[in-house]
Each structure stands twice: as C-alpha cells, then as structure tokens.
Amino acid sequence: MKRAWIGCICLGSMLWGCQPEPDAMLLLDQFVVSTNYDNDVNFQSYSTYSIATDTIGFVSNQSNDTILIQKDTDYPRPVLQKVVANLNSMGYTRVGRNENPDMRINVYVVNNYDLYQQVVYPNYYYPSYYGYGYGYGGYYGGYVNTYESNTGSLVVEILDLKTITPDNKVKVIWGAYMGDLYSSIDVIKQSEEAIDQAFIQSPYLHN
C-alpha cells in the first residue's frame, strides 16, 4: 500500500512536468507589435493623410461583415483617434478624402477562426490531424477531440497616394500588426497602447 502511494506521487509528479507552459496571463496584457516599412520611401516627403472617422475594416473567415462601425461596437473610434493623434504628433496633417491627401490610412481587424479535430486512438502514439470537414472519427475505436482557435490582429497601414499606378493600384509603405485581440484582457486599452508603440518604434515616420 505504501509503495502504491509513493508510486502515485512519483508518477503524478513526473507527468505534471510534461510539459510545463509559461504563465500565459502575464503575456496577454499587452499586444505583440510588429511594424514594417518600405526602405525606399522618404516619409518626410508626405504631409497630408486621410482616415475614416468611425469605421474600420473587418476581414474574417467566419463572418460576412466587412466593417466595424462605432454604433455597433465601442472599438473603432478610440482606435482611430489614437492613430490620428500619433500621425498628427509626427507632423502630418489630416485632410478630407477629396482634398488630395498624400497618404491613405487603412485600419482593419483580421479575424482568423479555426476549427480542427484530432483523432485519438488509445494506446496509439501518433495521433493524426485533419482539417474541419475532412476525415472521419471513431475508426478502430478512436475518438475525436475538437479544438477551436479564434485569433485576431489589428492592422494599420499607410498607403502611398502620391504614386498611384496607371491601373489604380497603391503601395503599402508602412504597416503595423498588433495582436492577439481575442485573447486580450482589455482590448481597447491594449489596442491604444499598441498603436502608440507602433509609432514609437517607427521614428522614421516624422514629417
């Protein structure tokens, strides 16, 4: 009996260590902020920009909505205001869309929802994965575990309206990618902080 007890403690301790994960909550209170820019662009040659007031784009694989509007959610306005505040502080001037701006600011959320399943065969060490809607479960006594993940990024892009191609294409000269929105603790506050950080780590954006 004593040996069984000790064995249980030992085994439990060993399995507890397979494999530990860091404290996720510590990592979720701020976004990862990634920025890219076009090395060939002189950002000082731009002076004006246009941006929407209460609407941001929405790209999702689970919804047909293409925009987020302030009247439906509190998210767009503070995000857009924070982008505007940063651009203004860097010396750029906001103008209307019809006032021939040098830059267009695109702000949108990319939502990626994944559902995937894993067939588990007891006593079989190599579980097989397949995408949702494919494959089959229950084969040879196996059972199906279903997982879902819902991730989202806030994207801010600067488009160059000074060099529109003959076929009306514009170039993205700066982009900021911030996430994850769906695992955040305070999505609006963290989005605002992330936007500030995106501009802080892009000092070349001064007019």
């Binding site: 397979c18 494999q19 530990p20 404290d23 979720l28 701020q30 990862v32 902020v33």
Partner: protein, 203 residues
C-alpha cells in the same frame, strides 16, 4: 513522452522487488551553465527517478537506469527588436524543457558499519531531449533537439531505520548534453544540480 514514463515507471516498480537494489524518486533543482543570458535562472521544477541494482558479492557497485526532467523558465520584460525593414515589440518567456534518460554505474564508499550510510559516486551516459521555446502573447517558436547526455554524480543513501526499507537520498550532479539549438545560441547544454528525495531499498 508520457507513455515512455509510464512504461518506465511500471518497469522499475516491478523490478524494485528484486534483491540488492533500490528505486528512488528525487526532487531535482538545476542551475543552467550554458548561454545564461537566454536563461540564467535556476529551476526548482525537476524530478529524477531511477532503479539501481547492486552487482558483485560486496555490493560496492551498482548499475541502473535514471530518467529525469527539468523545466527552466525566464520572463523577459517588454523589448523592441529592430529588424531590417521593421521592428517587433513584445514581452516574452524563454523556456527549456529537458528530459533525459541514462544508463548509470555507481561505486559505493565504505562508511561506518555499512548499515545506514552509503556514499557513492557514479556516472550516467544516455540521451536527452531539449525543447527550446520562446512564448510571446499567444504565439510561440520552438526548436527541439536530441543529444548525447553525460552525467557525473555523487551522493549519499541514508537508511532511515535499520529494518526499514525506506531511505533518503541526496546528491549533486553535473549534466552535459549535446542537444543544441542554433536559433537560440546553444552549441550544447550544461547544468549543475542537486537532488533530494526518497528511495525504497531492497536489501
């Protein structure tokens, strides 16, 4: 990994009834010695267990099998990494999960009447699997590698009572593993550690 541990555990508990042998389970505290800028913090999350059987009529030598795991983790505050054409800012965890298995041999030094205290020195040779991982927000990057593991070790077995089969065990060890990670700057992985725990003696 869990399956291997279960198989091993069932095996060693079965063998533990053999004569002139002992099974042990130790708490294992480790200190990384390689690339301590990446992770320099000590790890109290580790365990080691094994089975050892005495050979020879004088019980001065034993051979056995040891398995262990250790988890190292270090939080890195928010940092901005400049890259060509951009930058990325995040806070993150670096962590290493190390699991090893070695075949080992020990020599026991005579002490007192030879009934209660059994100091020993030994070496284990085997393999380790190291998983080097960076976690940031919900994302992570990981590199996993296997390598040769060498572990010199010294310690002492203490029988609690002359008729009891339960004993205490303490030891220090040094591990050298060739499990490398090019992404995170490890040509090898070395650590020192001490272990403390219990054992079941069969003699």
């Amino acid at each position: 990994m869990k399956q291997y541990l279960i198989i091993f555990f069932l095996g060693v508990t079965g063998m533990a009834s053999a004569q002139d042998s002992y099974f042990y389970f130790n708490w294992d505290v480790n200190f990384p010695l390689t690339n301590t800028e990446w992770i320099g913090s000590s790890s109290a999350r580790g365990a080691k267990l094994g089975f050892r059987k005495f050979i020879g009529s004088e019980s001065k030598f034993s051979i056995g099998l040891d398995v262990n795991w250790a988890y190292y983790e270090e939080y890195k505050p928010t940092e901005t990494f400049q890259q060509p054409g951009g930058a990325i800012t995040t806070d993150y965890f670096n962590d290493i999960f190390q699991a090893g298995a070695v075949a080992s041999g020990q020599y026991y030094f005579p002490l007192g009447n030879g009934e209660r205290f059994f100091p020993y020195a030994g070496i284990g040779l085997g393999a380790s699997r190291n998983a080097y991982k960076v976690s940031y927000n919900i994302y992570s990057d990981e590199e996993e590698s296997w390598g040769f593991l060498a572990r010199p070790e010294a310690g002492i077995l203490v029988r609690i009572g002359e008729r009891r089969k339960l004993g205490l065990m303490a030891g220090v060890h040094y591990d050298f593993s060739t499990a490398k990670s090019e992404s995170y700057g490890y040509d090898n992985f070395m650590n020192a550690g001490f272990q403390l725990g219990i054992m079941m003696m069969q003699w």
